[in-house]
């Protein structure tokens, strides 16, 4: 044990992972039982796939699945490339002080809590004096319009997290050998050609990794934000599985049922993760799993 200090350091995250990620998995069994707190996990009656069947036959199942998948898919399609483009733009800034200011301004929204963000969105979108309505010269209550919900959700997500998301790409770009840019300059490449031939290929492996990770949580629509922006009038597009799990599990105390729905969600995510990894590894020789 030459490096026992390193093993000791490693022990801390391992213990935390086991306690908070693995031990709770024992509780997954309640998805297959009729859980009664007084009987405990093992003592509750085994019901097999009953809760899953009930979820699949629920009248809102189709709508929830469609909303969850579409909201995630659109989020991925819009939110995924923007941090890459942003990092490529920031990387071109030559004045370090200005660069730092731009980065700070872009990171800042990430540190605002979802609760406050949603409050701000409501104020911006208010039909009476909201910023967006003032700019458009209209008086529309966007949050009551189901066809506007996805745009609001995705656009606000980009505003909040694009700056933060580009950190990892900026770190990758900072590792590029500067002589590559110089070689490209001597070769006669324009700024755009340097980006396309030096920056983008360097970002590709990281972008694929991020894409796989994002695709792996395709079904994990953030519950809080949807819940806070949801109104009765936009439910047609804002009714998603995460909110349903919360309603069933916490509000209605249907622990077994909500666990089954959550497990279904996770299983779909896992399958998606493997599919995307397979496709991307074939497309780019990069295999992360």
């Amino acid at each position: 044990m030459d490096n026992w200090q390193l093993y000791l350091l490693l022990l801390i995250p391992v213990i935390i992972t086991v306690i908070y990620k693995y031990i709770p998995m024992y509780g997954i069994q309640i998805a297959f039982r009729d859980f009664k707190a007084t009987r405990g996990y093992a003592g509750s009656e085994f019901v097999g796939l009953e809760w899953f069947e009930r979820f699949f036959s629920a009248p809102t199942f189709g709508r929830m699945m469609k909303n969850t998948v579409l909201l995630s898919l659109y989020s991925l399609l819009w939110s995924f490339p923007i941090p890459i483009v942003l990092s490529l733009c920031i990387n071109q800034l030559r004045f370090h002080r200005y660069k730092r200011v731009v980065q700070t301004v872009l990171y800042a929204p990430h540190f605002i809590s979802t609760m406050v963000i949603c409050g701000m969105i409501r104020i911006f979108l208010s039909p009476s004096g909201g910023l967006i309505n003032l700019l458009l010269g209209s008086q529309v209550d966007f949050l009551t319009q189901s066809n506007a919900f996805r745009t609001i959700y995705i656009a606000s997500g980009i505003w909040q997290d694009a700056g933060w998301g580009c950190i990892i790409y900026l770190a990758t770009l900072s590792n590029i050998d500067t002589t590559l840019y110089e070689a490209a300059k001597v070769d006669g490449a324009s700024v755009f050609q340097r980006i396309m031939n030096v920056d983008v290929p360097a970002l590709l492996p990281m972008a694929i990794l991020m894409f796989i990770m994002s695709a792996g949580s395709l079904m994990n629509v953030g519950f809080e934000k949807v819940w806070l922006l949801q109104t009765d009038l936009n439910k047609a597009t804002s009714d998603v599985i995460a909110v349903y799990v919360y309603q069933q599990g916490i509000e209605n105390a249907k622990y077994s049922y909500s666990t089954a729905v959550g497990l279904f969600n996770t299983a779909i995510n896992l399958i998606l993760l493997f599919i995307v990894n397979k496709i991307s590894s074939k497309a780019s020789d990069v295999d992360f799993i």
Partner: protein, 384 residues
């Protein structure tokens, strides 16, 4: 004609640090010039100014008669080989070599012809479809040279291209560059910190220190006629021996060098040169190359501290009254005891002694004030 002229070139960074001071250099068409010096001497900065990768703070740069201070690198008709090869990692060798031509919108068939032609010269045809990561250091360096060659540039710039290679491969590549130079016959500017590379490759060498050019000259001139202590110490391996607290004496109209109490009557040429310069007796630093010392006889004495057996010769590190002396002695016919701790007598020929002024460090014979003042220092010429 692709001559390069540097007129009073200066580089001052934003933090007011001057990296290059007033460099004046005239590189003739098809000349191979080597910029050499220790780290931070400004050689790479000078090259980068020629390449257009660094802004020129002051002075003028002419390439092929055209003022190029504000010309974009791509329009200077230059090609550069970098120390780290700077090959695009996602491109194949072929794509790397074709990239510049592709950007120039050269027809595909011409690109293909050119790339394959150069690949054949450099013996990398079999690697054309490989990515740089699948190549060895030497192969990558060939690709980097090939990428520069396909452009048929007026000036070839090389920034320490062999520094990342191991000693054996470096020697091999050095020979390849010499052959390549004969083949492509264009103007070369080559930066290195390795004096062996400089000596073997350059038609002329520019020695730099602290942003100043210390001497410009043919390799043999730099070796035999160093203008100051720095050049004398930098060129030659092992480095020149310096005997501090030596004296230049003048007795009966003749000059003598006194080293460690031993008087050497200087050669006829040295006498004439010192007289021509009106040299007065003074304190000097005497410099003698390790190969110019003969062991076994003479009035100079030294105690051997380290004995390095190199095969054909032995390098003796000895102490001569406080000054460290290195002697290179052939092992064939060696009759003297050169073991550690032994005391040896040694001698030299007076014409092989370099005489440096103790105060300024300038060579009393070869330092030329006029060229030094004009910032293109060369060894002084004599017409007796």
């Amino acid at each position: 004609m692709s001559e390069v002229i540097l007129k009073g070139l200066k580089k001052v960074y934003d933090n007011k640090v001057t990296a290059v001071h007033d460099v004046n250099l005239h590189i003739a068409d098809k000349e191979f010039i080597v910029l050499v010096g220790p780290s931070g001497c400004g050689k790479s900065t000078t090259l980068r100014m020629v390449a257009g990768l660094e802004e020129i703070s002051e002075g003028e740069l002419y390439i092929d008669g055209k003022l190029c201070n504000d010309v974009e690198p791509k329009d200077r008709d230059i090609a550069m080989v970098f120390q780290s090869y700077a090959l695009y990692p996602h491109m194949t060798v072929y794509e790397n070599m074709a990239f510049a031509l592709k950007l120039k919108k050269v027809p595909k068939d011409q690109i293909d012809k050119k790339v394959r032609e150069v690949a054949q010269i450099l013996d990398i045809t079999q690697y054309l479809e490989r990515r740089p990561k699948a190549l060895s250091g030497g192969q990558r360096q060939r690709v980097a040279i090939g990428r520069a060659m396909v452009r048929d540039p007026k000036v070839f710039l090389m920034d320490e291209p062999l520094s990342n290679l191991d000693a054996k491969l470096r020697n091999q590549m050095r020979a390849e560059i010499i052959k390549l130079r004969q083949r492509i016959n264009t103007t070369f500017m080559y930066v290195t910190h390795d004096q062996t590379e400089a000596m073997t490759l350059g038609d002329r060498i520019v020695i730099m220190k602290d942003g100043y050019v210390n001497q410009i000259g043919a390799p043999q001139d730099l070796f035999n006629k160093p203008v100051n202590l720095f050049v004398a110490g930098f060129i030659g391996m092992p480095v020149m021996n310096f005997f501090y607290n030596s004296k230049l004496l003048q007795e009966g109209g003749k000059y003598y060098a006194e080293i460690k109490g031993v008087k050497f009557e200087l050669s006829e040429f040295q006498q004439k040169a010192l007289s021509a310069n009106g040299q007065k007796p003074c304190e000097i630093v005497a410099g003698i190359r390790p190969n110019y010392l003969s062991v076994g006889s003479g009035d100079l004495k030294a105690k051997i501290e380290v004995n390095e057996m190199m095969g054909a010769e032995v390098h003796l590190h000895a102490n001569c009254q406080g000054d460290e002396v290195v002697m290179v002695i052939p092992t064939v016919g060696l009759k003297v005891d050169v073991s550690q701790g032994a005391e040896v007598s040694f001698n030299t020929k007076p014409e092989l002694i370099q005489l440096f002024d103790k105060e300024s460090g300038n060579n009393l014979i070869w330092y030329d004030e006029v060229s030094a003042r004009e910032n293109h220092p060369v060894s002084k010429c004599y017409k007796f």
